[in-house]
């Protein structure tokens, strides 16, 4: 596996921030009330992670070890502020949807984690790719979690798409279960924990199946200890 494929594989599956590293749970749990919210914040996070990894990697040799954390936090906070301002100024509709979430990215520990563990040790190109793929890995988890919660909680999918992309996208909102009364638990915070637990379990199950194909195939999976 080339370095870049491996980075992508790490971000999307092996070291997925959402269901394996379990970093950045604040937005994971808070904003995933719908697919659109989840994906929007996921993509913004991916952008910030690519930018912060890209900003830290070239200067990594100038940052003394003792003050690397304050410097990294400074860089991340500055980047998030600039991206927030830029989106507000040049993409107002997007800012309406993402506005309250973007400042949250500053405190998302997955950003600092990748800067610290990857960008501080690697060249810019792989570092940017790592930040981006980690962000995409998180986005996928947010999308699934948002999908589960929205479907169970409201019986729809992609609601709010018109707010994110424009009124002409209103037709893409799917009402999967018509006349659905709603299941509030899924929308409220406990639904986020339950949904995430389900996703983690699913991912672990798939991983076990993959590593022990024979056992899983016969269905005679026994506890390993």
């Amino acid at each position: 596996m080339s370095q870049f494929t491996e980075i992508a594989y790490n971000g999307l599956w092996k070291q997925n921030p959402g269901v394996v590293q379990l970093l950045g749970l604040c937005p994971t749990l808070a904003v995933t009330t719908s697919v659109v919210n989840g994906v929007s914040l996921g993509l913004a996070t991916a952008l910030v992670m690519a930018a912060s990894n890209g900003a830290v990697s070239p200067v990594r040799k100038f940052v003394p070890d003792e003050i690397r954390v304050p410097v990294f936090i400074l860089v991340i906070a500055a980047l998030v502020t600039m991206i927030d301002l830029a989106i507000h100024g040049f993409a107002e509709p997007l800012h309406k949807v993402l506005g309250i979430f973007i400042p949250l990215i500053v405190v998302n520990c997955i950003v600092l984690a990748r800067v610290e563990s990857f960008a501080a040790k690697n060249a810019p190109a792989p570092a940017i790719w790592d930040g981006f793929m980690m962000g995409i890995g998180l986005t996928v988890v947010l999308a699934f979690l948002g999908g589960i919660r929205e479907l169970v909680g409201k019986g729809t999918l992609f609601s709010g798409l018109d707010l994110a992309l424009g009124p002409q996208f209103k037709t893409y909102i799917l009402t999967v279960i018509p006349d659905y009364q709603g299941f509030l638990l899924a929308i409220l915070p406990p639904g986020a924990f339950l949904g995430l637990a389900g996703l983690i379990a699913l991912r672990n199950w798939a991983e076990i199946r993959k590593t022990k194909p024979n056992v899983a195939a016969t269905g005679a999976l026994k506890p390993s200890h």
Binding site: T33, F62, V63, P64, E66, I67, P70, V71, L74, V75, A78, T81, M82, L85, A86, H88, G89, F90, E92, H95, K96, G153, K154, L163, G182, L184, I187, L188
Partner: protein, 220 residues
């Protein structure tokens, strides 16, 4: 020994400061570049909200510039001075757009924006912010439901004192099963805001005419 510590510390501090200077300048630059577009888009967003609650033909003035300060008032639920916008046609006030806050919602304050015409008729109401339960109380939000349009065209004349309540309390306003506290708070907030505007009509609608005074006789 202390000398090396001091030298090391100052070297590190200088590095940190260099980063702070570089990134603060970058932020300052981006802030400057985006300042005008942000102001524009905020003004546009505000105007589009105004247009939702008041037809465009009701004013020919610049709503964003024609403002009046409203001191805190219990009828509006405000604890700080708010800025209201006055709509005028040829200098004659036609409507006022003001904020009101309902404190008795199910969870937290419900912030409303109301357009009330000079003759005391509600032109439109929108909920700006709320923290009501998703799926239950959030139908007061236009994004979820048209319920808030029930107020359009109502006034203290069309509905009596007792009518300004949800149906459960003997009034005229519909509500949805499972969430009565939320609409009750909104109805009462709109009612009180309406009373405020009617009571203070003279002050609100004559204050600070920025446009050219009209030659026409004042319509009462």
């Amino acid at each position: 020994m202390p000398e090396t510590i001091i030298r090391h510390a100052s070297k590190t501090a200088i590095t940190l400061m260099a980063f702070a200077i570089v990134f603060t300048s970058l932020m300052a630059y981006v802030f400057n570049v985006t300042k005008a577009p942000i102001e524009q888009s905020e003004a546009a967003a505000r105007m589009s909200l105004f247009r939702q609650i008041m037809p465009e033909h009701m004013h020919d003035n610049d709503l964003l510039k024609d403002t009046v300060d409203i001191p805190p008032n219990p009828l509006l639920g405000t604890t700080q001075t708010t800025v209201a916008n006055i709509a005028r046609i040829q200098g004659q006030p036609t409507a006022i757009i003001l904020e009101a806050i309902a404190h008795d919602g199910y969870s937290g304050d419900i912030k409303l924006l109301l357009a009330i015409e000079a003759d005391g008729v509600v032109s439109g109401v929108r909920v700006i912010t709320h923290k009501e339960t998703p799926g239950l109380g959030d139908y007061i939000d236009i994004a979820k439901n048209n319920w808030i349009k029930l107020f359009d065209g109502q006034s203290l004349h069309t509905y009596t004192e007792a009518d300004w309540r949800v149906k459960k309390d003997g009034g005229k306003f519909d509500y949805m099963a499972g969430a009565t506290i939320t609409p009750r708070a909104v109805v009462s907030a709109v009612h009180k805001a309406l009373q405020y505007v009617v009571q203070n009509k003279q002050v609100l609608f004559t204050a600070q005419i920025n446009q050219q005074p009209s030659a026409q006789a004042e319509k009462k």
